[in-house]
């Protein structure tokens, strides 16, 4: 399975820190994905790296991630996503669930 790596950068207007050093959520099952969010000094920015077998959906990944970042305003974080054909629906759900896990 050939994998594609995608990288995105976000500059939140009001960056806030992750309250824990790192959080891991989800599993790389079929149609699913895992996400790891880690604290990292990036001058207020956030970066996201996606490893996925799917091609041709780069803009959808960007939109899903942008909407999530707009909502959560996390800064100084590195987000790593290992995807196995998750739909945008599942991606959104896993990101929000990861956030809910750290915020209780």
């Amino acid at each position: 399975m050939a994998l594609t790596q995608l990288k995105y950068e976000f500059s939140p207007a009001t960056p806030r820190a992750l309250p824990v050093p790192a959080v891991h959520f989800g599993v790389v099952g079929s149609g699913d994905m895992e996400v790891i969010i880690e604290n990292k000094d990036l001058g207020g920015k956030a970066v996201a790296t996606v490893v996925t077998p799917v091609t041709g959906f780069d803009h959808v990944w960007e939109m899903v991630l942008r909407r999530f970042m707009d909502e959560c305003q996390l800064g100084n974080v590195a987000i790593s996503i290992n995807d196995n054909n998750a739909t945008p629906v599942v991606v959104s759900l896993r990101l929000r669930q990861a956030l809910l896990e750290i915020e209780g």
Binding site: G31, F57, M63, V64, N85, T87, P88, V89, L93, Q97
Partner: protein, 555 residues
């Protein structure tokens, strides 16, 4: 001198045809042997006849269908097949061989592609694609079968039939055929001395044959809880809070997908927690869904009338006569025509999935190259315009139906809730929301008069996706409906056209609600909410009465 008028030509013709068949019957009975089945069909079927092979979406007269394909096309041809469903390869083979010529049906299932090909090759002339009730209606009007090949569990020597748990279409086909002078031939799993219950009187049946093996049944309504995802559960939570609880839905039908299975499986958990027991989901027109077992066992359900049976559920249903419709003999009887009538007139909500929804809200399961058919969904997925009784759910939805006053003035009228529950993307990232339905392309390829739309937009009241719920009937006019559809369409090309300020206004107006607006906690959307997480756990809930088919047994 005027000629004597003859008023019983069909009956006389039937007698004449049967006289050629009589040599094959066991003396003094209606029983013939499987080896003579082709000869019997040769005797009773003539070119140009309208013929029904009982094939609904569950049990199939598969042996007789195979026999029909063995007729000599030089002697028997141009048959007009009128039947609920064509899911078997042999159904289409009759067209390939030149025995059959025209088809009027309701559902093609796995043969959808083959139907489209046969139309394209000119071997199959399509009459129309119907709903079940619509086709049944035509059996009594302009599509009455001349010969019907039906199936049953048991027959006695006089032709009395036991159709039992899987009664389905048999009574209706038999009555339409026999009372118009036609011929009815039945394949049965077993010839017995005395049938368990007379579902079809022997006088209405001309011949019975024990088929070499039991008739084929597809377990269409079994969904393995192990395959239910967190997204299904999130959407099920939204459905319960935003629709079932909001309207107090007591009488309903569920579609066959995983989304509605998820709803069934969170009734005893999330539903219980919301205090909804007794307030929702009390009466169903529904096949015996295994995933409803935990809710039944927890006391949620008062009654279920079934369109047909479901493999492995007979013993469970028989042991719950307060819930299912069980005969004096102790076994369930399904009857599709009655259940479809209940589903058309007496439910307050239909909820199910689809494949495509266009920007106006019309939905279809048709894709290019596949003539899938409708089955029963459109009769449930619509407001029954002949309905005159009221219920709180129907009245509330009608009161919210803003555009209704444009037609009725100040006269109150209710409205059926028709809910399309659909993830914005399906497997392989196929979008569920599209600019134009594939049904248009299909209509062109298969030369249909109109694109096969499963549920028209003016019947849909709610669209539920993982983004939230669009309450379409609360919209004023088509423009606002289209904006509400964009709001639930997520990252599809339709959803990406949503304007944030428009979506915000729809939320304020209560026309679009997100999980947060509904008070649904996303972090709880996981499989721990399922009352049963596997087929094995369904068996356990049933106290061992549910007996799943081998392919669902993995323990």
């Amino acid at each position: 001198m005027s000629e004597q008028k003859v008023w019983n030509k069909t009956q006389r013709d039937t007698q004449e045809r049967m006289s050629h068949a009589s040599q094959y019957f066991k003396p003094g009975t209606k029983v013939f042997e499987a080896k003579d089945a082709v000869a019997i069909l040769e005797a009773v079927i003539r070119s140009g006849d309208r013929v029904n092979i009982e094939g609904n979406n569950q049990k199939q007269a598969d042996f007789l269908s195979d026999c029909l394909c063995k007729l000599d096309p030089a002697r028997v041809n141009k048959l007009h097949m009128v039947q609920s469903s064509v899911p078997l390869a042999s159904h289409l083979q009759a067209f390939e061989l030149g025995i059959a010529e025209k088809l009027d049906f309701a559902y093609a299932g796995p043969q959808g592609g083959a139907v489209a090909k046969a139309i394209a090759s000119g071997k199959l002339k399509l009459g129309a694609i119907h709903t079940y009730l619509e086709l049944f209606a035509r059996y009594f009007m302009d599509l009455t079968p001349r010969v019907s090949l039906i199936c049953a569990y048991e027959a006695d020597k006089d032709g009395n039939l036991y159709t039992g748990f899987n009664t389905e279409d048999t009574p209706l086909i038999t009555e339409a055929t026999k009372f118009k002078g036609g011929i009815v031939i039945a394949q049965v799993n077993k010839i017995v001395d005395k049938v368990q219950r007379v579902d079809i009187p022997g006088e209405w049946v001309d011949g019975v044959v024990q088929s070499p093996k039991p008739f084929f049944i597809e377990p269409l309504f079994t969904r393995d809880p192990a395959l239910i995802t967190d997204t299904h559960i999130l959407m099920a939570m939204m459905a319960l809070k935003g629709i079932y609880a909001e309207y107090g839905i007591k009488r309903l039908n569920h579609g066959i997908g995983f989304n509605t299975s998820a709803i069934e499986l969170i009734l005893p958990t999330y539903g219980e927690e919301l205090g909804l027991k007794g307030k929702i989901c009390t009466n169903f027109a529904l096949n015996p869904h295994p995933t409803l077992i935990p809710a039944i066992e927890s006391g949620w359900v008062e009654s279920i009338h079934c369109f047909g049976g479901e493999l492995g559920m007979a013993e469970y249903a028989a042991a719950r006569p307060d819930i299912f419709f069980i005969g004096p003999d102790g076994s369930m009887r399904s009857n599709r025509a009655y259940s479809q009538t209940a589903g058309h007139y007496a439910i307050d909500m239909f909820i199910g999935g689809t494949l495509q929804i266009d920007k106006y809200g019309n939905s279809s399961t048709a894709t290019a190259g596949r003539v899938a058919g409708f089955g029963g969904a459109p009769n449930m997925g619509c407001d029954a315009h002949g309905r005159r009784h009221s219920t709180p759910a129907w009245m509330k939805c009608g009161n919210e139906f803003t555009d209704q006053q444009n037609f009725l003035g100040d006269v109150p009228r209710g409205k059926r809730l028709v809910v399309q529950m659909q993830e914005t993307f399906q497997e392989k990232l196929v979008p569920s929301f599209v600019e134009k339905l594939d049904a248009w392309k299909l209509a062109e390829q298969a030369e249909l008069d109109l694109p096969p739309v499963m549920v028209y937009s003016d019947d849909i009241t709610h669209i539920l996706t993982e983004e939230g719920i669009a309450y379409l009937h609360r919209c004023k006019g088509l423009d606002q409906r289209m904006a509400a559809i964009r709001a639930v369409a997520g990252y599809t090309s339709i959803g990406l056209q949503a304007k944030p300020e428009e979506t915000r206004a729809l939320r304020e107006a209560g026309i679009f609600k997100t999980p947060e607006d509904l008070g649904v906690d996303r972090s709880r959307a996981n499989r721990s909410l399922l009352a049963a997480k596997s087929i094995k756990e369904l068996v356990d809930w049933s106290g061992g009465l549910y007996n799943p088919p081998a392919r669902f047994r993995n323990w």
